[in-house]
C-alpha cells in the first residue's frame, strides 16, 4: 500500500513537472529613454487681502477686474486700496499672489520682471510700487523665493480728468527667471 501511494505521488509529481515545463512563454524588451530638464512655473493665486481673480487663479494666465473705480465714490471691493493724489489723479491697488515653482533645478531663487503688453499714455501702472511700462521689463524682485505665494500689489494711477465710464485695460506680462 505504501509503495502504491509513493507511485501515485511520483506520477503526480511527474505530471506537475510536465505541466510546468510545457507552459508557453514569450519575451519582449522595451528600452525606455528620457532626458530630464529643469523647469520653473509661474502661477497667479488669489491673495487673502486682495480682489479675487476673475478667472485663471492657479494658472499662468489670469484676469483681474477692479470693477468701477472712482476718486471719491464707493469701490466695488473692500480689498481695493485707494489713494487720492490731490486734484490730479487717484490710485487703486490690490494685491495678487505670484507663486513660482521649480523642478529639477538647484536654483536658489528667481528674478521676477513685469512689462505692459501695450503702451498706456494716460494711466500709470505699477507692480509692487515699481512703475511698469511697455517700453522695457521692470524688475520686481531679484531674489524671489520658490514655492510660496508672494503678494504683488497691482496699482493703476488714473487722472481725475478721465471721463466717467472710460474702460481701462491692459495686460501685464510677468517673467520669472531662475537665478
Amino acid at each position: 500500500m505504501k509503495n502504491l501511494m509513493m507511485l501515485f505521488a511520483a506520477a503526480a509529481l511527474t505530471v506537475g513537472m510536465s505541466s510546468v515545463a510545457s507552459a508557453q512563454t514569450a519575451q519582449g524588451t522595451l528600452t525606455v529613454n528620457a532626458t530630464v530638464t529643469g523647469s520653473i512655473q509661474l502661477v497667479f493665486n488669489n491673495d487673502g487681502s486682495g480682489v479675487n481673480l476673475t478667472s485663471g487663479a492657479g494658472t499662468s494666465t489670469a484676469t483681474l477686474d477692479f470693477g468701477s473705480v472712482s476718486a471719491f465714490g464707493a469701490l466695488g471691493s473692500p480689498f481695493i486700496t485707494r489713494n487720492v493724489n490731490g486734484t490730479t489723479s487717484f490710485t487703486v491697488s490690490t494685491p495678487v499672489d505670484v507663486q513660482v515653482t521649480k523642478s529639477n533645478s538647484s536654483s536658489a531663487n528667481y528674478t521676477l520682471t513685469a512689462q505692459l503688453a501695450s503702451a498706456d499714455a494716460t494711466n500709470t501702472w505699477a507692480v509692487a510700487t515699481k512703475p511698469v511700462t511697455n517700453a522695457a521689463a521692470t524688475t520686481i524682485t531679484a531674489t524671489g523665493a520658490y514655492g510660496s505665494n508672494t503678494a504683488e500689489a497691482i496699482a493703476i494711477t488714473i487722472p481725475q480728468a478721465t471721463a466717467s465710464g472710460t474702460s481701462i485695460s491692459n495686460t501685464i506680462n510677468f517673467t520669472a527667471s531662475a537665478n
Binding site: 508557453q24 512563454t25 524588451t29 522595451l30 528600452t31 525606455v32 529613454n33 528620457a34 532626458t35
Partner: protein
C-alpha cells in the same frame, strides 16, 4: 547511278531522322516520384510591441525588441508628441505614453495570457517606471492576468520623476536616462 544512289540515301537518312525526331516529340519520357513529408506542428506564442495611436512612435515597432523615447521631459515645459503629463505635485511629476502589446499564439488551446514585467536593472536615480498601475522593480510583477491574443492591447507607461534637484535625490538633468523593461507573456 551513283549520284542518284547518294541522293536517295540522303533523303532516306533525312526522312528517318525526321521520323525519329517526331517520335521523340510525341513520346516525351516522364518520370514520377512520391515524397512522404512529415510535419510536426510546434505550438508557441510571440510578443511584439506596437505603436499606440495616442502614444509615442516606437522604435522597431512590430518587433519584440522595441524602444520608446519620451524625449525631453520636465515638470512644466513642453513635451514631445504622444507624451502627456497627468500629474505634477511638489514631490514629483509623471509623464505618460501608451504603447501596445500584441501576443500571438499558434497551436495552443490557451485562450488568454498573463503578462508580467520587470526592470532589467535598477532605475536611474529619481525615476520610477510604471506599467499601468504597477511600479516596476527588478522582480517580475503581473501586469495583466487575462490578456487577449492576436490583438493590440494598450498599456500606459508612466515615468515618475522626482522634482528634487540633481544631487538632492532628483535625476540627472540634460542627459539621456535609459531603462530596459522585460515583458513576459505566459499562456494561461
Amino acid at each position: 547511278m551513283s549520284t542518284w544512289h547518294n541522293t536517295r540515301s540522303r533523303i532516306l537518312v533525312a526522312a528517318a531522322f525526321m521520323l525519329t525526331s517526331a517520335s521523340m516529340l510525341a513520346q516525351t519520357p516522364t518520370a514520377s516520384g512520391t515524397i512522404n513529408a512529415t510535419l510536426t506542428n510546434k505550438n508557441g506564442i510571440a510578443l511584439v510591441f506596437d505603436t499606440d495611436p495616442s502614444g509615442v512612435t516606437l522604435g522597431a515597432a512590430g518587433s519584440s525588441n522595441a524602444s520608446l523615447s519620451f524625449g525631453t521631459i520636465s515638470a512644466f515645459g513642453p513635451l514631445s508628441p504622444g507624451v502627456t503629463r497627468p500629474s505634477v505635485t511638489a514631490a514629483s511629476f509623471t509623464v505618460r505614453s501608451p504603447f501596445d502589446i500584441q501576443v500571438i499564439q499558434g497551436g495552443l488551446t490557451s485562450t488568454s495570457y498573463t503578462l508580467s514585467a520587470s526592470l532589467a536593472g535598477p532605475a536611474p536615480t529619481g525615476l520610477s517606471y510604471k506599467v499601468d498601475t504597477v511600479t516596476l522593480t527588478t522582480a517580475a510583477q503581473r501586469i495583466q492576468a487575462n490578456g487577449v491574443y492576436d490583438t493590440d492591447v494598450a498599456h500606459n507607461l508612466d515615468l515618475v520623476v522626482s522634482t528634487a534637484s540633481p544631487g538632492a535625490g532628483g535625476p540627472a538633468v540634460g542627459t539621456p536616462l535609459t531603462a530596459t523593461i522585460n515583458f513576459t507573456a505566459t499562456a494561461n
